[in-house]
């Protein structure tokens, strides 16, 4: 009996206890099943289906491993999610793989002090001028309330020191000039062939008809300043440790 099978037996009694105990072989097997069966709909990184992000523990109808195994085996009626002819063990290896994706997205907290990091974030760093955490700060930049579940420490450090290194598509800023000459910069929320929706610097939700715009362009550089040379390496570590500690609102 593998560890995993033992875990499944435990699941019925105490699902939470059973999580995290996956072997490298289980994860590898699950990865193979995932690549073969799941990725066409869910995508290589698990984020193709709206409202679902398998690689970051974001599910619509499941929270425990037992929930996930059940859904994999029985599907979700009325949706594209079909039942799978896996053994319970195979389904559990897929869950093992999903959990490992999420864990590797989080990684370790680093060597900083999160308390000092929070002070930097709220004070000297001026981060709340653009970012928001659990209801405090600006909505213009990415909300960081659960950034610790979404990004790795190394990625966050890069974003602080070299914000232009990677700008995720959902964080792109655009510049629009209306026909009457008003110029606005904001975060692009949605667009189609006829219209554009943004959140502007005053945190207004604005929708423009493209025919009312004289100019529409992406802002290629990140609006975020680099903190290289502005924060010491210890301060950067503190800040990263704080960000990594942010896991969002606890679900009831």
């Amino acid at each position: 009996m593998s560890d995993l099978r033992f875990c499944i037996l435990l699941l019925a009694a105490s699902p939470l206890l059973a999580q995290q105990h996956y072997s490298a072989a289980d994860i590898e097997n699950g990865s193979r099943l995932y690549r073969a069966n799941c990725f066409i709909c869910h995508g290589p990184d698990g984020n193709y289906v709206t409202g679902v992000d398998l690689g970051h523990n974001k599910f619509r109808r499941a929270s425990t491993d037992a929930d996930l195994i059940h859904i994999i085996l029985t599907g979700i009626p009325g949706t594209a999610m079909p039942p799978h002819k896996f053994s319970e063990y195979q389904a559990a290896t897929v869950v093992a793989y999903l959990r490992s994706m999420a864990a590797s997205a989080q990684s370790t907290a680093g060597s900083g002090d999160p308390t000092r990091g929070k002070a930097l974030f709220d004070g000297k760093g001026g981060c709340t001028g653009c970012h928001r955490i659990l209801g405090n700060g600006s909505r213009l930049g990415p909300d960081l309330s659960e950034i610790g579940s979404l990004r790795r420490a190394a990625d966050l450090e890069i974003s602080i020191l070299d914000p232009n290194e990677e700008i995720l598509p959902e964080n792109r800023f655009v510049r629009v000039v209306t026909k009457d000459g008003a110029e606005l910069t904001g975060r692009l929320l949605n667009e189609d062939m006829l219209s554009v929706q943004i959140l502007d610097a005053k945190e207004r939700l604005l929708s423009f008809s493209r025919s009312d715009l004289r100019e529409f362009s992406f802002v290629d550089r990140s609006p975020m300043p680099s903190y290289r040379g502005k924060l010491s390496s210890q301060e950067v570590s503190d800040l990263v440790s704080y960000l990594i500690s942010l896991k969002g609102v606890d679900k009831p």
Binding site: R32, A36, H42, T50, K85, E191, M193
Partner: protein
């Protein structure tokens, strides 16, 4: 009123006529109806109705909507027969509605086996009609005949084994007294086939394997036992030329999809069009678009049959915009290659030789590190119905422009009924599921468009750009109106002559189906499935 008058009234309106095959063959002569998936057996998706024009299309308004009890993609094109509409709510519920009001007459609910595992959605694209019966192919690979009056099943036959990865998602094609279907499952290591069934009894009359068996010509294009699970699926409705008595079907990718190592050779008849004798299923000719494919370039597109003067002489041609990024013109009598030209950016091939065979670009293959290739995995186009308008002479293609994928190669392992892919394409744009936002994708990262080509040259005549990509088919009308949509959730009308946007409706969900048109009591309607609902529009009265 005399008895004779009463009888005349009955004959004219009350007793609905049977849908004979002769009516299906001449469907253009009764444009108030829509009798096959693509309108006629020539599959031009072109309506002869002319009440809606470029001048008045701005006055279209919603007449009714039908909300499906399904969260699946709504990919079906409805049929309309003498005022009654038939469509399919995913996965396999057939619904009869009053076409003027959307009121439901009956629902036939079918629960597919839990063995069913279609690769890319539990979807269905519509039914076929013959006589007073409807025919539906199901995701668990059954073919079912229903009574069109009350939705009662008449016969139900298993076409293939769902547990082995076979499925069916397309609308069947009726030819004479036969119902013809093919099997999906190209991601599960199936051996694809096309089969004809007796419309009356459900008895299988002929079968054409899309991968030749031992001793058959073309078998040598596979090695070892790779032919036994080489895919070559069928998942879109074919076409028919009654003069030649040939039926044409597009064939899907070879398996494993993204790793050609287990199957050295051209892998016939994957990614080909086959021309079969409609009575016997015997192969008359084939043309392979993408030999030894490793990019999932299914050639399942609907074959569009046109009689036109081509290169100076009258010809029976077939127009084909392929998932591999090339537009082709073939002679459909012989299969001769007449023209081929990219309609979107292509990097996997450097061109086509004089016989239409692609010249592969060096190093453009999936590998462990990933190779960036245009077009990407969903193709320059895909299963979305194109349209040909005899009035404008143009061919219209739902296109993914500047779209690429990075192809990773993995080791494939065959096990019956399990995925057999051998790789993993990645792209910034979502795939079949379509769920991933393409929101905020820049134009240079790919966009959706309706592209109009001159079939004489393959030259682009005009383009209508969207921001997001599109899974919507195209309908044209004899009055030069073009209807289509896309993932942005617009259903729109363009001027078929120049691509000008004339009208649009916000339908609130992606259009992933082909529009159609019908008329009742002189009123022309245009219907389309989008999101989880079916919408019918007509001019404001």
């Amino acid at each position: 009123m005399t008895a004779r008058v009463l009888l005349l009234v009955l004959a004219a309106g009350v007793l609905p006529a049977q849908v004979t095959f002769n009516r299906i063959l001449n469907a253009n002569q009764e444009p108030q109806n829509w009798l096959t998936y693509s309108g006629t057996v020539l599959s031009q998706r072109h309506s002869m109705l002319t009440q809606i024009t470029p001048d008045n299309v701005k006055n279209l308004e919603l007449q009714w909507a039908f909300q499906a009890r399904s969260l699946e993609k709504f990919e079906a094109t409805p049929l309309v027969v003498d005022g009654i509409m038939y469509t399919v709510q995913a996965p396999n519920d057939v619904i009869a509605l009053e076409a003027a009001t959307g009121r439901v007459f009956w629902t036939y609910s079918y629960t597919p086996s839990t063995d069913a595992r279609p690769c890319c959605g539990r979807v269905n694209r519509g039914v076929a009609v013959l006589g007073d019966r409807l025919y539906m192919a199901t995701i668990d690979a059954h073919l079912i005949a229903l009574d069109a009056k009350n939705g009662r099943p008449i016969w139900n036959v298993q076409v293939a084994k769902a547990a082995a990865g076979y499925a069916m998602t397309h609308a069947p094609l009726v030819i004479k007294d036969k119902v013809i279907v093919g099997t999906a499952g190209g991601e599960y290591g199936i051996r694809g086939f096309i089969a004809a069934y007796d419309a009356r009894t459900g008895k299988e009359l002929w079968r054409f394997y899309t991968i030749p068996g031992p001793g058959e010509p073309g078998h040598e294009t596979w090695s070892g036992d790779s032919w036994m699970h080489g895919g070559a699926s069928v998942w879109m409705t074919g076409s028919y030329d009654s003069d030649l008595n040939l039926t044409y079907w597009g064939i899907g990718n070879p398996g494993p999809d993204w790793n050609g190592d287990p199957r050295p050779g051209d892998n016939l008849y994957s990614n080909s069009v086959v021309a079969l004798d409609a009575d016997t299923g015997k192969l008359k000719w084939y043309f392979q678009f993408s030999p030894h494919d490793e990019f999932d370039y299914d050639s399942v597109q609907v074959p569009v049959l046109v009689d036109m003067t081509f290169q100076g002489r009258p010809r029976k041609v077939m127009l084909w915009a392929n998932r591999n990024g090339y537009f082709y013109v073939l002679d459909r009598t012989s299969g001769q290659f007449l023209l081929g030209k990219p309609f979107v950016k292509v990097t996997w091939a450097t061109g086509l030789d004089e016989r239409g065979r692609p010249m592969r670009a060096p190093k453009m293959v999936p590998n462990a590190e990933g190779t960036l290739i245009f077009p990407g995995n969903q193709g320059g186009t895909n299963w979305y119905s194109p349209s040909y308008s005899p009035h404008t002479g143009l061919f219209y293609i739902p296109s993914w422009v500047n779209y690429s994928s990075t192809y990773f190669k993995l080791k494939p392992e065959f096990s019956e009924g399990q995925r057999y892919g051998g790789g993993m394409p990645k792209s910034t744009i979502g795939g079949m599921g379509g769920g991933r936002r393409t929101l905020n994708t820049k134009e240079e990262e790919g966009y959706g468009a309706v592209r109009a080509l001159d079939p004489q040259s393959g030259d682009l005549k005009w383009e209508f750009k969207m921001v997001d990509v599109t899974d919507a088919g195209i309908l044209t009308t004899a009055s030069d109106v073009l209807f289509s949509g896309g993932r942005e959730g617009y259903f729109f009308a363009l001027d078929a002559r120049n691509g000008t946007l004339l009208w649009k409706a916000r339908v609130g969900g992606p259009v992933a189906s082909g529009p159609m048109s019908y008329s009742i009591n002189g009123q022309q309607y245009v219907a389309v499935s989008a999101g989880n609902s079916l919408f019918s529009f007509a001019l404001r009265q």
